[in-house]
Symmetry: C2
């Protein structure tokens, strides 16, 4: 079996078992993508995206800031006060690549960058170029605004990644020096109180505790969580300081901040098991998933304050749905999943991954969306970089580390969370290493084969996605599974396995129409098309002469599933007979907003058109044009015409 | 003829003819309401609202602030930094009452209040209790935030009103002393530059110039307008400082600030005739009316920043539509109307008056809406007062001064802008006084009788409202008018009149369905009911057991117009056969936001219901319940169920 290369076992297998988490993640060097969907994408991150991002970090002064802080270069700090974090996220992404791939050039670049970061560190451990270049006296004085602790968090995450990936400790030592300073600085009886305006350090400190075994970092994370809502960080929703975390009951304010905080709080819960914390997390999850999330898994309805909206406030064209917010949601979902192994968390991770994170990067790996609306004009296009560049390296680190999110294990149980062809090794408590090999064409089809290459008794959990409402079947060695298969739950198979046992899971993927809660008022009278985990959309380029918003898909019209290896790097499109129902041109020619209502013309006068839907994550990779996720499924709710 | 009492002619008839305004307003003592709609409302303002507001001004420390500034009372300033303006608006409202009504008790209260205001004035003319009580050194240092110039503007408006109403000059002298200080303080070569964060003073200074004949106040208004967009007031949209006024092309930021600024700029244009200013005003008017206004005439889509939204961003339940913003729009429309006498300005004033301003006060004159959504739950109710109490006295001054908005005149022409039973005297240039008497049951019916009580040649313009799309007829002394009657324009009758001539204008008022531009996406598949100038709504109390949002009004269903003298102080309701199409209860019982779409059940299973619509301005005057302006006119676009 082609298992990961034994010679590269540099990884420090995590020794910390979170006492209140049912599951544990699989170290990145124990699992390797070998499918046609994710493996090429991860390789693209390695070969195209990360080199390009490194050049941009250099050209935009982000690396120069470290050179200046190190005294290697003269000059003032350049760019935003949080620009260090982009370097750290790049380091984290590159480290996760190195965990599984040999890439000497990348390894060399990582080592150089770590050396640079180390050189920029102050003698007392402090490390933030925004202050250390020319304003060191002001450090710790603008916590609400300048993201000092946020940048520290990204450094710690990069350090943990690098340590786990390579077994090397240079970056980890830099991180712990800074973390020690922070622990010495903030808290009861220490020089300063409070926390920062942008949560992130909480989950980073818990991971640092897990990686080093030093519980002090956990206590510090808990401190930063506990002081929220006391006015240290502005006292408002934007900074997630409007009330104590344990009293929060809805997701409000800045979406990325809110979700990073939830992820950090879940990490703290995994270690402390405090019931009040879990209750708050479940309350927030319920609010999010039942009232404040898009069908894509995107979150954050408002441009103003990059914020969540009210319940059911889910505008499509004005959706903000920052790529980073979907990544934060994915990270939070992962942590919730570890706690109790409930498939609903993995389900939402999957939705967000394919439909809210993946759209954030172009098919060529060089363009990014910061904002991911569900309806857009031709002007919304991916960019090669942003002045506020949080999203690009965040996508890179997510995809680089994706293999680590596919499986989970506990003492004598194995979970298959996500489907992607991959061999994996999972260590059970009794010392056995369970070897599995997953093969699938997911997300294009739902046939998944699992080969067990280890003997003995253990339990296997296979996720039956919530979208697979009926027809899921499992065959074990040609023997159909006879138990009840419940969508949205894990199917559990416990037996004494023989090496060579084969499980064949079939998840039917018919095209389907989704409808939304009637309180999400913009979607009234509209459907979204979906197939398997993928949400689809209409692009103008596939409907010459017709605005996608003018297409009406009758409920009776059957939807064809068509493989298109030639299109968008290989994809599956959906096609159906539909009608074109353009708006009355008078709306365009007369600048009026209201008029006396007119009767609809007869349906027989409408032009027949062929609806062609593509996966939402592939949109804006061809000629610019209008895009729509929510499609009219009846007449009358005419869609917006193009208004210049 | 029962003309206004000649013995009370204290009014200073305005002597200033704005050179670039075609029309002139009619002094308030020259017109008196004697209809069944507005006359009782204005009397209610006088007898109920103003006494109650005075008590609240006293109880909430607003008057005490003046007593403290006058040295009559010890203590610190209380409440918001703009609380003085509430006292000034009350004074303005009371003054407009005194212009036409004898009310010795109110006159006494006004005189006492003016004495108090005068006592609070600093020796150099400065007058703002927020600073003068205990922080005088800080005056003029926080123009962006603390509304100093805004409060000054309200003082000037009150002073002009009091002078015009009574001929007395005490308040005017206080105002001009302060205005002189402001003129000495701000501008080129003077100690300070810049302007305030909340426009208002611009129109007040122009009015002060008109009332005193002192052009310096006009120049100062122009200065405050000209320095916008230079960063003096924050440099952002919220403070209307994001760009120079003449370069603005859309209405953005805080709605009241934006529209007060437009009103002030129109006043400046009326005096200067600068083409660039008019071009900007027309551009902004066009943006407002074609893309950023509700069917009610309400404006300001966002709670966040009390702001305009993007084009076509017109959410119904989350509409902000502050009562003050509609008043500001009314004031701006009035000024635009004076410039060129185009009926579209009067049309929009009318829409806003009946459907966006009047809803702001309860039928008993003691409760107010600050926010006027077009869909609401039972929790949105009028309040007796607000901590930020800008709206209550703003409604009071508007209704108190309403008679002054009904007519207009120029050298030898008369305009009837708005319909309400009233005798009026209009002075022509040749010295003649034209006496007219209007009789109507407007807005309940569109039959308007006009009796001319003056002989001679003059031109009469009668507004044919835009809502009156067909069937408008005019009869002059039993002789049908044969010319073309164009809705949304003035109908012009020029003749040599005889005393006793009668004009009978008939504006048919069928119930009608309005539809909105398809880009206003929440209204897709919905209609609003209207009759004459009134927009209607559905209230839960009229539909026992049915959520108004679940009612579907088929396009074929005819709408009955029913007089209801017993209801809501006397009203006209609309009734029609409709269907109840409640949402699938599963949405309530399972906390899900999306699901696989289901086919609609057959229409034959739907319950028939009687739709009963009431004028929107009368809503929330009975038992609390849900309210909807936009009504589904076809199935499928199910409306939001009640979600706790």
């Amino acid at each position: 079996m082609n298992t990961p290369d034994e010679s590269r076992q540099k990884v420090v297998v995590d020794t910390w078992r979170s006492p209140h988490a049912r599951l544990r993640p699989v170290p990145l060097d124990r699992v390797r993508l070998e499918d046609d969907f994710w493996a090429p994408r991860r390789a693209m991150i390695r070969d195209v995206t990360l080199p390009a991002q490194y050049r941009l970090l250099d050209e935009t002064g982000r690396l120069d800031n470290f050179r200046k802080a190190a005294g290697w270069l003269e000059g003032r700090q350049q760019g935003f006060y949080f620009n260090d974090s982009d370097v750290y996220k790049w380091l984290e992404a590159a480290s996760w690549i190195l965990a599984a791939d040999d890439d000497p050039a990348l390894a060399e670049l990582v080592d150089q960058t770590i050396e640079l970061v180390g050189a920029a560190q102050q003698p007392d451990g402090y490390l933030d170029t925004f202050y250390s270049i020319d304003n060191l006296d002001a450090r710790w004085t603008e916590l609400e605004r300048t993201h000092e602790l946020y940048c520290a968090g990204h450094l710690f995450q990069a350090a943990v990644a690098h340590h786990r990936a390579t077994g090397e400790t240079e970056l980890l030592e830099i991180a712990t020096r800074f973390a020690d300073l922070i622990c010495d600085t903030f808290g009861p009886g220490r020089p300063r109180s409070g926390t920062g305006g942008h949560p992130e350090i909480e989950m980073a400190l818990v991971e640092l505790a897990r990686d080093t075994g030093d519980e002090r970092y956990l206590r510090q994370a808990a401190y930063f969580l506990d002081v929220r809502g006391q006015g240290y960080a502005g006292g408002d929703e934007y900074h997630q300081d409007h009330r104590p975390f344990r009293e929060m009951d809805s997701l409000v304010g800045h979406a990325v901040r809110a979700l990073y905080l939830c992820a950090g709080a879940t990490d703290v819960y995994a270690e402390t098991g405090e019931p009040e914390l879990l209750a708050a997390l479940e309350r927030l999850w319920s609010n999010l998933t039942s009232r404040r999330i898009y069908v894509t898994g995107g979150v954050g309805s408002r441009h103003e304050g990059e914020a969540f909206g009210d319940d059911f406030e889910l505008p499509n064209e004005r959706a903000y749905t920052e790529t980073c917010a979907a990544i934060a949601l994915f990270m939070w979902g992962w942590r919730m999943l570890q706690i109790n192994g409930e498939a609903r968390y993995a389900d939402l991770m999957e939705t967000a991954l394919y439909n809210a994170i993946l759209p954030g990067i172009s098919l060529d790996g060089l363009g990014y969306f910061y904002v991911n609306p569900l309806a857009a004009s031709e002007t919304h296009r991916r960019q090669p970089w942003f002045e506020c560049a949080c999203c690009p390296p965040n996508i890179a680190r997510l995809i680089a580390s994706l293999p680590g999110y596919l499986y989970g294990y506990s003492d004598d149980e194995i979970w298959v969370h996500h489907y992607a062809g991959s061999p994996v090794e999972l260590p059970l408590k009794d010392g056995r290493i369970v070897r599995l090999r997953q093969r699938s064409r997911y997300p294009w089809d739902g046939d998944i084969a699992l080969e067990v290459e280890t003997e003995g008794m253990f339990t296997l959990h296979l996720r039956i996605p919530g979208w697979c409402e009926s027809g899921a079947r499992l065959v074990v060695n040609d023997q159909p599974y006879n138990g009840v298969i419940t969508p949205g739950h894990y199917l559990t198979v416990q037996r004494t396995w023989q090496s060579g046992d084969r499980l064949t899971l079939n998840l039917p993927m018919p095209a389907c129409r989704m409808e939304s809660h009637p309180a999400a008022i913009e979607n009234n009278g509209r459907v979204a098309l979906a197939r398997g985990p993928l949400i689809y959309c209409l692009e103008a380029i596939d409907h010459p002469g017709i605005d996608p918003g003018d297409i009406v898909l009758p409920f009776e019209s059957s939807i064809k599933v068509i493989e298109r290896p030639d299109l968008l790097g290989g994809t599956v499109v959906l096609e159906a007979d539909a009608l074109a129902d353009p708006p009355d041109m008078e709306w365009l020619f007369f600048p009026q907003l209201y008029r006396t209502a007119r009767a609809m013309g007869p349906e027989s006068t409408l032009e027949s058109v062929r609806l062609r839907a593509i996966p939402y994550f592939t949109w804006a990779n061809r000629d610019p044009g209008r895009m729509r996720v929510w499609i009219r499924d009846r007449r009358g709710s005419t869609s917006p015409p193009v208004v210049p």
